[in-house]
């Protein structure tokens, strides 16, 4: 299964997930997207900027001392009353990450578990 199909499958499996994208954190470039409706480029740019901020930028740097500061942030969730944006770093390629835009009442544990499995499958494809 190619990356697009993996993202499509995750979006179908996670209830309340409207968008899944795979991005390069260092360049803030969206590599692949699965969405119910075609997202605007500005929206994707904002999403990848937020992912970089949360996993590698100021948010991550400010949070890291709480776990000793050695390991990088793996998971981040930015929540508003209208949505939950989930970011998960790829285990095999730390500069890449999965980004998900979900309903605000999503089960985060289930969504992260599914995202991890998706990233493992993507990573195993080389």
């Amino acid at each position: 299964m190619d990356i697009t199909a993996e993202l499509d499958a995750m979006r179908a499996d996670v209830q309340g997930c409207a968008l899944v994208a795979y991005a390069d954190l260092s360049s803030q470039l969206v590599l692949c997207t699965s969405a119910a409706s075609n997202p605007a480029q500005e929206e994707m740019n904002a999403l990848s900027k937020a992912a970089q901020l949360a996993l590698d930028g100021e948010f991550a740097a400010g949070a890291a001392p709480s776990w000793g500061g050695e390991a990088p942030a793996e998971v981040s969730v930015l929540m508003t009353g209208a949505e939950a944006r989930l970011f998960l770093r790829a285990p095999n390629n730390p500069t890449e990450a999965l980004m998900c835009v979900c309903a605000p009442d999503i089960d985060l544990e289930a969504a992260v578990a599914e995202a991890r499995a998706t990233l493992q499958r993507i990573g195993s494809q080389g």
């Binding site: 904002a46 900027k49 937020a50 901020l53 949360a54 930028g57 100021e58 948010f59 991550a60 740097a61 400010g62 949070a63 890291a64 001392p65 709480s66 776990w67 000793g68 390991a71 990088p72 942030a73 793996e74 998971v75 981040s76 969730v77 930015l78 929540m79 508003t80 009353g81 209208a82 939950a84 770093r89 285990p91 605000p104 009442d105 999503i106 089960d107 985060l108 544990e109 992260v112």
Partner: protein, 262 residues
């Protein structure tokens, strides 16, 4: 200087530098009684001295509020408000102007469907014992007190349910730490961590959140199950920072999101 004092000092600097003073929200209600009840709730949630500004048809209502007490109606006021009420100190509920102010507010709110509300630091000085306690206003203004939990009560109810054997938290209101829970060893370091995190949080807030007034939670966690992650939550003007094991933090965040999401 204690760890909390450092955090409070940092919060005061950060909020003044990065946050928009008087960032607004909307109160909604069906009819003037419901809107007036919502205003009473705002007064009840205000502990630090604040100038609460309500955008109403025909102008703005400015209230001096501190310690959950209504201290005065401040100028300028809409033309329909009697001049004698503007700037008049309200020492307690026995002051006849309190009932008159309630009636005048109902008149102003009669045409409103929603009322914008914002708060800034109060520059006028009133005595700490001056003012009508919010809990007495529904009776004198003939409105039913709102039965919904205030933001402060919602946060408190959430925090006290956390497992304090593994989860540490600081409750922050304005620029003050107003509560804490969890293992002492973790709590003592959390203030320093909070100051560091909030420095980046406020400086990059607009990058992370498209609609700032809706932000309610930020979670950052490492992958190692044996480590802890950080969860910062906000509801109106109250907030909390939590340190929780990575195995628990997603469940905590889900519970919070379901509590406060639209």
């Amino acid at each position: 200087m204690s760890e909390f004092a450092r955090l409070e000092e940092k919060l005061a600097k950060l909020r003044h530098r990065e946050r928009i003073p008087g960032e607004g929200r909307k109160l909604r209600g069906t009819g003037p009684d419901a809107l007036l009840a919502a205003i009473v709730t705002e007064i009840d949630e205000t502990i630090l001295p604040r100038r609460l500004t309500f955008e109403v048809p025909g102008g703005h209502i400015h209230l001096a509020v501190a310690n959950r007490r209504l201290q005065a109606l401040l100028g300028p006021a809409p033309a329909s408000i009697p001049d004698g009420l503007v700037g008049l100190k309200l020492p307690d509920v026995e002051e006849p102007a309190v009932a008159k102010l309630g009636a005048a507010l109902k008149t102003v709110l009669a045409e409103a469907e929603a009322v914008g509300v914002s708060a800034i630091r109060l520059t006028e000085t009133f005595g700490s014992d001056i003012g009508v306690p919010a809990e007495q206003l529904p009776r004198v203004w003939s409105v039913k007190a709102s039965k919904t939990l205030s933001a402060s009560e919602t946060l408190e109810a959430f925090l006290v349910r956390l497992d304090t054997k593994s989860v540490a938290w600081l409750r922050i209101e304005g620029e003050e730490v107003t509560g804490q829970g969890g293992p002492e060893a973790i709590v003592s370091g959390l203030a320093e961590q909070a100051a560091l995190f909030l420095d980046g949080y406020f400086s990059k807030f607009e990058t992370a959140f498209r609609e700032s007034s809706l932000a309610c939670g930020t979670l950052i966690s490492p992958g190692d199950a044996a480590q802890t992650g950080l969860f910062f939550i906000e509801i109106d003007t109250v907030s909390a920072i939590l340190s929780a094991p990575t195995s628990e933090i997603l469940g905590i965040a889900t519970a919070w999101q379901r509590l406060v999401a639209e």
